[in-house]
């Protein structure tokens, strides 16, 4: 038995739409991953601190408010600052296609846009995140 992938599911910013993040968290848990959920209204600092404390392998960010171009790179940069860039960041939410390139360049590994199935997300994590 190898180590199990640990995932932090997080809601940065002020938006309260947590249906998506909760459904994904449950699906990842049902798929056998260890999942921690931050709850709402987290700052990038709070998320990165939790990620390091909980020694997770990746962070899933859910943003519906349009603040993704600011908040997602902020999480990636803080991880770098704290020497935790091995933690993979992925995300999802109401994110227009036009913003994807910017987010990928900022270091976000994968973005799931509206209509993505939970199976796709589970498969992606399984393939791309390894326990460290």
């Amino acid at each position: 038995m190898g180590k199990v992938v640990r995932i932090l599911m997080a809601k940065p910013g002020l938006d309260g739409h947590d249906r998506g993040v909760k459904v994904v968290a449950r699906a990842l848990r049902d798929a056998g991953f260890e999942v921690i959920y931050t709850g709402l209204h987290q700052t990038p600092e709070m998320i990165v601190n939790t990620a390091i404390q909980e020694d997770v392998d990746c962070i899933g960010l859910s943003i519906m408010s349009g603040a993704h171009n600011v908040l997602m790179p902020a999480v990636v940069n803080l991880l770098k600052e704290k020497g935790a860039e091995d933690i993979i960041v992925f995300g999802g939410g109401i994110i227009p296609d036009d913003d994807l390139e910017f987010l990928y360049k900022s270091g976000v590994k994968k973005i799931f846009t509206p209509g993505a199935s939970i199976q796709e997300i589970v498969d992606w994590v399984r393939e791309n995140v390894k326990p460290h």
Binding site: L14, G16, V35, G39, H41, G66, N69, D98
Partner: protein, 559 residues
């Protein structure tokens, strides 16, 4: 009405038909689905007959429009007198941007305004607060002070237009700003009309834009109800909302049950504070979702009216008819829209809007086809508004009152919704009321479970969303998207900086100090908040002062 004998006869004939004709037909060709159910997964019979509404009593269960129990509608004339209010929820960028959109909508036949505030305002922060980073003007209009509200309603006569404001934690502050703007226009507070959402319970349950813990939040709500009852008689003091509960993934029954349970919570709180139920209840309004399952939604609205009438009359002993009426706003379901093949969203919204109208709504917002991608463009909003106008003035639907009454299926489903929703309400009563239930995470967990159940059904193909899990197309449809620039944040911060320089800061400090003092007593805070607002204290300063006294609510993070 059927006699016992006739009913038995119909039942026997139905059984015979089902066995010998209906089931027999399936021997050649099996049913299309293994199980037929609503989008909420409530099982649907293949056919309803009088046997499905065995105790149906027209007078008791339906009555006439405008008469108890209001199943057929709250007004006697319904849409023959006046159409529903067409009220498109709008707000983005700065107060200047949104003011322009409002004028555009009013010029195009919209009959009421509905303000969408950006997240910092909803959460009680100013645009220059560190927590507002990246959020300014994105999901709604940035309002930090009375100055912003003056610009937002510039050139819009507040004695002629009614305004709904989707604001909860800071509702008292935005109401105070609205009253102050009206005064500056020369309109007295007893002449203005509109709504503040002011429904904190559904924030804990579903929408999650809370600030304070339940107790001080409920106090602020009671304060606004008391204030408006005395001074702003045309104001709807709470818009008790199921919309967000449904969007968070609840079933139709849960939406109905938790919304009415919240309503019970507010009526009880106001009565406990010594207010007369017949003085304030008529100004409570409701806000429901119009989801895609046509008949389930119509049944939900009809059941809601009948249930609320019973609750107000029997549970709370309200004497006036006005107190028994459930008036409601409807918005079509954002969560049914798809990013894939976005033009299909116009069709979805049309079906949902028809359900709302057939269900007797008092006002309606139709979503725009691009709302899964961003805030709507002007072109998309226009199609959404025209959808309502076509239903109202071309389709003939609005010519007759409650045309689906008496349909065996619709009456069966209406009864079923009521029965199932009362089971939830009884369970919540047993838990000690809605606040106790929320603290125990009960409605939150029920909704989470329903959302996950639906998602799994979707992934298994048991539920279909066209363009997403069936009839998928390789596509590259580009529709125009409204983008809010990051410069809005800078503009707003600069405006705030200038305001803080320009205003009388001694007066600001004095008002905030008095507010803080009053918050520790039992006084009605509305008067103090009005003074603060008029002195150009910012929203963040007012809410910050109250945060220091009341503390903050933290997300229990229930998955």
């Amino acid at each position: 009405m059927y006699t016992e004998e006739e009913k038995k006869k119909i039942e026997a004939e139905y059984r015979e038909w089902k066995e010998k004709v209906y089931n027999k037909s399936f021997e050649r060709l099996p049913p299309r689905l293994e199980r037929f159910s609503t989008v909420s997964d409530m099982e649907v019979p293949e056919l309803c007959t009088p046997a499905d509404i065995p105790d149906f009593d027209y007078e008791r269960d339906l009555g006439f429009p405008g008469c108890y129990p209001f199943t057929r509608g709250v007004q006697a004339t319904m849409y023959r007198g006046r159409l529903w209010t067409m009220r498109q929820f709008a707000g983005f960028g700065t107060c200047f941007d949104t003011n322009k959109r409002y004028k555009y909508l009013l010029e195009n036949g919209q009959t009421g305004l509905s303000v969408a505030f950006h997240y910092p305002t909803l959460m009680g922060y100013d645009s220059d607060h560190p927590r507002s980073r990246g959020e300014v003007g994105k999901c709604g209009v940035a309002i930090d002070s009375l100055e912003d509200m003056e610009i937002l309603f510039d050139g819009i006569p507040l004695d002629k237009v009614t305004t709904s404001m989707t604001i909860n934690g800071p509702a008292s502050v935005l109401l105070a700003m609205y009253i102050a703007v009206a005064e500056k226009q020369g309109v007295k507070q007893d002449q203005i009309g509109g709504t503040i959402q002011n429904d904190i319970l559904k924030e804990y349950i579903a929408q999650k834009s809370w600030i304070f813990p339940p107790e001080p939040s409920m106090r602020l709500i009671v304060n606004t109800v008391e204030y408006c009852t005395k001074h702003v008689p045309r104001w709807n003091t709470i818009s008790i909302s199921g919309y967000h509960i449904r969007e968070a993934g609840s079933t139709a029954v849960q939406e109905l049950a938790f919304t009415l349970a919240d309503g019970i919570g507010y009526v009880q709180a106001c009565m406990d504070a010594g207010l007369d139920v017949d003085a304030f209840a008529k100004r409570f309004s409701f806000f429901f979702n119009a989801h895609i399952d046509f008949f389930e939604e119509i049944a939900k609205y009809r059941a809601a009216r009948r249930m609320w009438a019973k609750i107000m009359k029997n549970r709370f002993g309200a004497k006036k008819e006005e107190s028994w009426k459930l008036r409601f706003h409807t918005q079509t379901a954002g969560c049914t829209l798809t990013a894939q093949q976005p033009f299909n969203n116009v069709v979805r919204t049309t079906i949902e809007a028809m359900a709302a109208v057939l269900g007797g709504t008092q006002s309606l917002h139709t979503n725009s086809m691009d709302e899964t991608l961003a805030l709507p463009t002007e072109q998309a909003v226009t199609v959404a508004l025209r959808t309502q106008q076509i239903i109202a003035e071309e389709s003939g639907i609005a010519n007759v009152i409650d045309p689906l009454a008496g349909s065996y299926f619709v009456e069966y489903l209406t009864n079923k919704m009521e029965e199932e929703a009362f089971k939830y309400i009884n369970r919540i009563d047993e838990m000690g009321g809605i606040i106790k239930a929320i603290e125990a995470g009960y409605p939150q967990r029920e909704i989470s479970d329903a959302a996950y159940h639906y998602q799994r059904q979707l992934e298994k193909g048991e539920k279909v969303v066209v363009g997403v899990n069936k009839y998928v197309m390789k596509e590259d449809i580009k529709i125009p998207i409204l983008k809010i620039g990051e410069d809005v944040e800078e503009i707003q911060k600069e405006r705030l900086r200038k305001l803080r320089q320009r205003r009388d800061n001694n007066k600001v400090q004095k008002c905030l100090k008095e507010l803080r003092g009053a918050a520790t007593t039992n006084e009605n805070l509305m008067y103090y908040i009005l003074d603060c607002v008029k002195a150009y204290c910012t929203l963040g300063e007012i809410m910050g002062t109250l945060r220091e006294v009341f503390g903050e609510y933290k997300d229990p993070g229930i998955i």
